[in-house]
Each structure stands twice: as C-alpha cells, then as structure tokens.
C-alpha cells in the first residue's frame, strides 16, 4: 500500500476518534436532561468524569488486555479487513481470552498506528462505560461509580472486546469452528453497546428502583426528566458523533466503503426515529419526542454492527425493527421486569445492540469483508446464503449475555457489600447534588 494512503488512514482514524470522544457530550446531555434538576450535577459529573477515569484505567491496563497480543492493528492497512486478517493470526494471548502487552503505552511510545489505535479504542471503551451512568442515575454513590469506572475500563470491556476485536476466541469462530467469518461486529453493536447495556441492566437491578418509581399499589410512577430540550440536543450530538463511530471503524479513509457506512448509519437512525414516532403516535396519540430520540439512538445502535456489510435498503429495515423494538423494550423493562432505567439505556443499547449483532447475520450481502478474521470470501448472512454466519452472530451475542451480565452483576453485588452502591434515602430524597457532589446545578441568582 502506498504511503499517502497510510497518511490518509491515520488522519481518518484520528478525526473519527475525535468525533467519538464528542459523543461523551451527547451522553451527558441525554442523561442529564432525562433526570431531575436535583441530580443534574451528579448525572453530568458521572458523564464527564467517566472520560478521564476510564482513559486512565484503559491506558494503564485495559488497552493491554484488549490489544496486547494483536500485531495487526499497527499496520493501518488499506482497509480494516487487512488489519483483521493479520490480527487473527496472533489471537488473544491465553487461549484467545486476553492480550498482554502495550501497558501504559511504554513500548513504542511514538508509533503512530499503535497510538491511533489506542485513541480509537479508548473512546470506544468510554462509550460503553458511560451507558450505565444513565440506567443507574439518581441513586448511585459517586465513590461506587468511580470504582465501577476503573473496573469497566481496565477489565470488563477489554476482555469481551479482545474476544471480538483483539483476535480472541469469538473472532476465531470461523477459522476454528467453521462458523462463517467468526463473530463479526463492525463497530460495536455487541462489543460496545450490548456490553454497556447489559452492564447497565445488572447495575440497575442491583441498585434497585428510584424511590417512588414502583409503588406499593402496583402502579408505576412517571419521573420526568428536568430538561427535555437537553435530551433532544444530546441525541443530535450522538447522531453526529456516530458517523465517526461507524465510518471510522474501517480504520481507513482510503477504503471507499466509508460511503456505504455513513449512508447506512444515517438511514437506519432516521428509520428508527421515524418508526418509533409512528408507533407511539398511533398508540398513545402523541408524537412523543423522547421516544423519537430513543428510536433514533436504537437505529444507530442496531446498524453499528453491520453498517459496512449491508445495503441501504437493509439498513432502513434494520432501523425500522430497532424503532419498534425500542418502544416495546422500554415498556417491557419497566412494566414486566420492573427495572428502573431512567433514560432507557438498556432498551437502546442492550436490546438494539443484540438486534444489531444478529442483523449482520441476516443481511450481510456478500459485497464486503473478504478475508475478515482470516476467512476467505466476503461476509454473507443467512438471507445471502451463509446460515453459519448467523450462528456465529448468535454465539457472540449469547456469550456477551452469559459473560458480561453475570460478571457485572457479581461486581455490583461485591461493591455493594464492600463500599455500598446506593445513597441513603435522605440523600436520594433531597437530591445527590448537595450531599454527594457539594454543588447545585442551578443556584438562584
């Protein structure tokens, strides 16, 4: 590959990483707008502080576990497939379970490709890590949150990510067991969003619902957020940054597939929002804007895994399904499972992330991904002739469910015993801002 392509690819990966970092702002706005004014500083602070906390932990340990055994990334080849093709030959270090090396970036401290991959990986970790702050908002002790931030960035996220993106056992499902190209997740439907969503679910269950959410008489209280325009603004910020999230995941600006990815990202998000609004408008008779936001985000989460592999028409279909799913899932999680998730994070990231992982196994149309994870030929889904690819997607999603959820659940149970996860009911009643944070969001003039 020519030198100028390497330069363009480096520029592309960096710019995309900047956009993904900017998504942190979107999460902060969505979550803070969706919670009460008395907890606004706390919600904002968790979203702001997960970034330095996570990056420090990822720099020290996480990146090494994710990518330590991965020689492919530093090439920044003409397209992602090249990097991934090489990657599989290295595999995770210990039976494909984790990498080892690159800790604190002490080796090759100025290698451009290694540093670019660190940057790109760090903001993806950050995205996964910030999801639970929404589902667990308005009742989580800040000290417990801080411990969680290090656990997520140093251990939980890197492990599953290593399995899929670091040459681990899920990436090797193809070469080892003949399941298509192994578990393929282009930009993180399972790696980032299911991981974040299922961790959020575990945390919300362990924490329990906010006071007043589920009443003794069986009714469910509505606890509206304090600033709905803020939530909408945050959603648009996420829609903007997501272009970097998905299109940057080629790791190559010289890969013309970036156009397909960007268009699919836009179409799925718009189809998701459109469908969700129609769904609530026709049933509840109001064009609920919070649900439009959830639909848009659900569409984005769902297309993330397959955006490079499917046609625009399939992207619209994936978004439509995500829009319907998210409307249902928000209600199910609240009414059937009686889990209190103030921002709908589990529905958006967990449920739609799972759908996104499976959707690739259905709609990958065989026009991309030759050599991916060391398997010859392009990636094809069930509808395009390769049912084994769908099985690989199922295995990937199932292993996320069976690994991330219980580990997160156990972690939250443990921290609950050791330091306590939940603020006192007095603090919850008066708001976390004065006592936990020592600040007020909107002091009077």
């Amino acid at each position: 590959m020519a030198e100028h392509d390497v330069a363009l690819n480096l520029v592309w990966v960096l710019l995309a990483a900047f956009l993904v970092m900017f998504m942190q702002l979107g999460f902060a706005l969505v979550e803070t707008g969706s919670t009460r004014a008395k907890n606004a500083v706390n919600t904002m602070a968790m979203n702001m502080f997960i970034y330095p906390l996570g990056v420090m932990g990822f720099w020290l340990a996480g990146y090494g576990l994710l990518a330590g055994g991965h020689p492919g990334w530093p090439s920044l080849g003409p397209q992602a497939t090249a990097a991934r093709e090489i990657g599989i030959q290295a595999g995770g270090h210990l039976y494909g379970l984790f990498g080892w090396g690159r800790f604190a970036l002490l080796s090759a401290p100025h290698d451009p490709a290694n540093l670019a991959m660190f940057l790109f990986s760090a903001v993806f970790m950050d995205t996964a890590a910030t999801v639970p702050t929404g589902a667990m908002a308005e009742r989580w002790r800040f000290a417990s949150f801080a411990v969680y931030g290090l656990f997520m960035s140093m251990l939980l996220y890197p492990l599953y990510a290593n399995w899929v993106w670091g040459g681990g056992w899920l990436a090797a499902l193809g070469v080892n067991w003949g399941l298509g190209h192994g578990h393929v997740d282009f930009a993180g439907s399972s790696v980032v969003h299911m991981t974040g969503g299922l961790t959020a679910l575990a945390g919300a269950i362990v924490l329990g619902p906010r006071a007043g959410k589920f009443r003794r008489d069986g009714t469910v209280g509505a606890i509206p957020g304090h600033n709905l325009p803020m939530t909408v603004v945050g959603t648009l910020v996420l829609a903007f940054g997501w272009f970097g999230f998905n299109a940057g995941s080629t790791l190559a600006g010289a890969d013309p597939r970036i156009a397909t990815i960007a268009v699919n990202t836009m179409l799925a998000s718009c189809a998701g929002a459109f469908t969700a609004v129609i769904a609530v408008w026709t049933t509840l008779h109001k064009p609920d804007v919070a649900m439009a936001c959830n639909g848009l985000l659900g569409g984005l989460v769902a297309i993330t895994g397959s955006c490079a592999f499917v046609s625009p028409a399939a992207a619209v279909l994936i978004g439509v399904v995500a829009g319907l799913l998210v409307v249902r899932a928000v209600r199910w999680i609240e009414l059937r499972f009686r889990v209190d998730d103030p921002v709908g994070a589990v529905a958006v990231h967990g449920v739609c992330g799972c759908w996104g992982a499976l959707a690739l196994g259905l709609f990958a149309d065989g026009t991309y991904g030759a050599g991916w994870n060391g398997v010859a030929g392009p990636v094809r889904g069930l509808l395009f002739g390769d049912p084994r690819q769908f099985v690989a997607q199922l295995v990937g999603a199932a292993s996320n469910l069976l690994f991330v959820f219980p580990v997160a659940f156990g972690f939250f149970k443990l921290t609950d015993r050791l330091i306590g996860n939940r603020v006192s009911s007095e603090v919850e009643q008066s708001g976390l801002d004065p006592s936990e944070m020592g600040s007020e969001a909107y002091p009077p003039g």
Copy 2:
C-alpha cells in the same frame, strides 16, 4: 486523476456532510431559544424530527428527482467544476425540469460516489427543510408539519435543486441562452436558503401571526424567546457546521480552493455580525446580541452562493451588506408586511439568500469555475466583465421567487383546508407542548 485524490475527495465530502448534519443541532437551538418555554418541546421536536422525516422522503423520492438524470456526480473529480461540466451534458430528464432514477438507492447500492452524493444532498435538503420550522413556530399543528416535511423533501426542494445542481434548465442558461455559466450557486444561497426562506414566508403568511403579536391598536407586541443563551449557542454551532456546508461543496478535498472558501465563509459571517451590531448599537443604543446572531447568519447565507468565486475583500463586503440587510429586513417583515416570523428566518435565509445569489453575479473575479455548467472560461461577475452572469443570477433568484413561493403558498393553503395548519387558540394560549406533544420541556423537580 490519481486514485488517492479520489480517496481524499470521498473523505472530504463525508466529513463535510457530517458537519452539515450537525447544523441541525444549531437550528434546533436557535429556534427553541427564540421561542417560549411552553412551546420548547414542540420547536425542538420539529427540528429534531425534520431530519428523519426528510431523510426518509428524500431517500424514497427526493434524491431521484434531484439527481436521477445526473451522471456527473459519481465521478468525484478533482474539483467540482469537473463534475458539473459533465453534469450539464445530461441535464434534468424532462426538458431539464427533474431527474428520474436512483430511487431508494436501489441501483448501485454500494457505489461510493453515489452514496456520498446522497448523503451530502440529504443534509442540504434537511437544512432547507428546517428553516420554516422557525418562522412557523409556536402555532403549527404537528401533523401538518409532518406532511410538510414529506412535501419539502420529496418534491419542492428536489425540483429547484435539480434545476441548478442536477443539470436542469437554470444550469443550462449558459449553454442554451448565453447567460454566462448559467445560474451558478456554489453551496446554496438560492437552492437551499432562498428556498427555505420563501417557503417559510409562505407558511408564516398562511398560518398568520401568533396571538398577541399584532394588536388591534396597531402596535406590535414583543414576544421574547425563553433562552437567549441557547440562541447564541445555536448560532455558533451553525457557524461551525457552515464550514462543511461551503467548503464541502467543492466535492473535492484535493481542490485547493477549499482554503478560499473557508476564509471567505469566516470573513463574511464576521463582517455580517460586526455590521449588524454596529447598526443596532448606533440606532437602538444596545449591542443587541440576537441581532449579532442574525448578522452572523445573514453573512453566512449571503456568502454561500459565491464563496469559491470571490476574493476575501469581496467576502467582507458581501457580509457587510448582509448585516445591514438583515437588520432592515427583520423590521420590514414585521412592521411593513406584518408577517410574524419568531426567529427572523425569512430575513436571514430569504433576503440574504437572494443577496447571495446576486452577489456572485457582481463579484465573481474570474479566478475559478472554468468549465462550470459546460461553459468555457472562469466565472466572472458584472464588476469583472460579464454582465450576462449577473442576468443569470437574477433569473435564478427570480425563478426561485416565482416557483418556490407560490407552490409553497398553495401547498400550505391546501393542507390548511385538508387537515388544518394551525392549533386552536386554546392550545396556542396554553402552549403546544402539553396538548400537541404530550410532554413538558422543563417539568418541576
């Protein structure tokens, strides 16, 4: 052209499209900040929902009408002129009136240049479509707005855009009638902003003013927006995204003219804001920040059409005139024409858009645009030796006025009869948020 230039151009067009999509956030903030708290969810929701609504409509029909007959775009040549030079040879399908093809992106679903052009065209359509939500805010039924969104994205915007950018009859004014290079609009002073602004004017007239705006005794009520900082923030977001809007319109990162465009965009916007503030400060004795915002946006709108063709000094002059125009126009529209435009959208987009279309016909300095629209030699304005180019600009602006305005007017009259455009006076009085949207912007803790 070398392959690496194509790669750089694709990256450039995508990144610019992302920036333009981000402008949706700017519009949402400017318009919501400029309206009352009781309508904040409604205003925010229109700005958020026009994006999925418009993109779905544009994907199904609009893009096909705009670009269906256009073989030039997919080349992503070394500069825009190349694409446009080829484009003119194809022309719109039916007598240069509209294209036909590419519907739902079903043909060539993975062609990078086609997809990049779809993305870029979609966000431009979205910009035009979101302008009327400001002028028609605080009284527009959401159902009527939704119908409008489909009409604008599927039909009205694509038609005029085809005439100028899709090889239609306005582009062909040069080759067919000897009028310079035909109607030249680099990034959309007429195509996007006049279209949006005149549609906004038609809608605001048909809707009528908000209750309390024009009183029986002839006085005009001030209805201040609920969050002026939000308006300023939105303006800065627009100024940021506009760099993508204008500089991306080369369709080529390898075209060094992007530097001229970016600088002209900055200078005209700053000159517009500077002039508008001086104008209000010296007459009304306060440095009105809302007018500074309008001046900045007016300068941006005005330079959009000619940014690649004029010198930095001319860009400053174009911005100065826009700054003066916008201050006057805001007052005229309100006081003389007695049209209620809560955010000044008609003045900013309609009036300054018209000025921008004409300004190219005055100041194009003959250093760019060789071969544009199939005419040899660079583009020159009246002051640089080609009065016929000014006539082409006049014809383009006049045809926007004579086509877009009446068609939009008729459309709004029709929807008013069929479904009703305006909320009841009870709903208007209590705010659109509870009854139309089913949500409150800022629920008490």
Copy 3:
C-alpha cells in the same frame, strides 16, 4: 514533497481550524455557566462577539504583524518543522519584533496556503482573546470590551505570536544565542494561553473584584455560577476542539506525529482532571465537578506547548502536575492575591500555560523537531540532555510575563481613563443584561 501530501495537509489544517473555531462555543458555555443569570446575555455576547470583532481586526492588521515577514508558512510542507525551518530565515521584519505585509489579505488573495494559515492563525488569536472575558465577567462595560477586542486581535496577540511563530527574536534564540531550538511552543502554551491568561489577570486587577466578593471583614464570598451543567458541557466541547488545536499545529496531516499529539492531548487532559478531582475529594471531601473541569482544561493547556515532543508517559505527568497546580492556583489567586476571577481563567490559562512552556524544556525526548527554528537535530529537554532548551523555555515564558502583562495592564488603565472599564454599581447590582445588553437571558413565558 508530493502533491497529494499538500492536498492532505491543506484538508488537515482547515479541519483543525474548524475545530478550534468550535472551541469558541466551549468558552461561551464554560463562562456563561460559571456566571450569574443576570449577566448571562452579557457573558454569552462577549464570547460570541469576540469572534467577529477579533477576526475583523486580525484580518485588517493582526495577521500582517504576525506573519507579514514569514515566507515559510505558505509552503505547507510535509511537517511543521519544514515550514518553521524556512520561517526562521525570514524573521520578523524589524529586528525580529513584528512582521509587515499581507494586510487585509489583499496580496495573493487566493493563495491556498496563505489563506489556510490566516484561518488557522485567526482562530488561535480568537482563543487567546476570549480568555479574559471569563476573568473579567459580570462587571465589564461592553464598549470597553469591544475596544479591548480590537487591541488584542490587532496588536497584543500578534506581537508575541510573531516572536515565537513568525520568525521573531524568541524563535531565533537558538540560532542567535545557542539556546536549544529557541523558544519552542508547539501549539500555544505560551503564545495563546499565557497571553490570554496574563491579559485576563491584568484586566481582572484593573477592573477590581465583583461587589460582594471580598468583604470588609476579610471573608470571601462564594458567587456560584447559574448553570453548572452548562460549564461541564462547555468543558467537553473544549476537550473536543482541542484535538484540532494541538494536532492541527503540525500544519500537516501527512506528518505521522499527529497520533502522538492526539494521544498526549487526551492523556494530559484526563490526568489533569483525575488529579484535580482526587485533590479536592481528599481535601474538601466532595468530588467537585467544577474543579474536575478546571483540571481537565489545565491539563490541556499544559500539554499544548509540548504535545508533539514528549512521550505519553510524560504527557500523563504533565497533566498530573497541571491538575495539582490548577487546584492550588485557583485558591491562591483568590485568597492570597485577592483577584476575582469568576471562571478560574488565570489559573487555567496563565499558570498552566506557563507550566506547559517550561514542561517542554524538561521532557522533550529528542524524537521530534529536527531543524526546528533553523537548529539542527531534534528538540531535547533538560532531562534528555539539553539544559539550554530549558533556558529558552524560561526566556520565552519570562518575556511573556514581562511584555504581555504590563502592556495589557497599561492598556486597561488607559481605557479606564478614556472610556471607563467598569459598569456602575447599580448596573452591576441589577445585572448587566438589561442595561448594557438590552436583553434578558431567560424572560418569563
């Protein structure tokens, strides 16, 4: 150098300039959130209006003084060092004190590299110019602010910037006096941030504290800002835009060092935020989010000068020190020096800017900067074998202190006499928005 590298470099410089312009939004949010609602329009307006005001002044005069004598920039060579190597040969015009030429961009009005450098330089000037609006908020007459805006953009900023970046005497410390590579400031720890921070200090001293800040009994009043979430959001916007600020300063996307720069920028900012929170949490027992923001910004300011020259581990260390410094400095400035700086601008930009300038002289590891400022061999700090480089850094920082501070102080004394800097105590009491700006930030529905 090949032509496609020039194209990539031009794209890189423009995109980075867009990101830096977007930082204006971050400053607006941080400062407005940190001040009271009755001054929100005024604070927002200063941050919005400094952009057009500064750009007009910089276009007319500032750029010519900064870069008029600089033939190197327009080459946009493969990396910054090439440009700077040539640059030094030209030097400032008069004994290396200022440039002369390029006024109003009248010469070479379409030269891409000249225009790109104007754009990039203008947004850097804008960053420096907007810093004092924070420290001087809530009591500064708008007319006096406007005069300041022209002074800063046309004269004060360009002079010091010429000495370091325009081939002036500080850049020539190496070739003329054997002090390493002369004063090296990669992206503006001294040129932008010390200049902004020391001007802010001078202004805050001349203006005096806000009413109620320092009481007669010696106690210090807390004057909390009206919207803490807004401050956090602004901080994240700045963290995003800063990637353009630092990585764009290679002036070359084809320089693979951009990866080192981006990672160092992230790591230092995160280390700064992390350290600042730990520092306040352990001493004041609350994870103060405003201090987390200051720590993040302090880390960004501190790494700005050396980001291309140091290893990631050194970047973390630089950030840690910045985080500790900013917590201390905020208190010292308030309690010991009794200067009222509502947003902590002096601590963040002045103190951490100074630290950033010196840090390069300690940690530059000899892997970058060969030929910088006309001196052979890479740049090395004290710890990597070149104590003279540290002296050059000291001289640069000292000359900023000894030139910028007194000149700014004198300027504010002069304007105080000529037009008055400070609003009346009645206006301050009732807020600047009604009387100075003629607007209210949050009018009741």
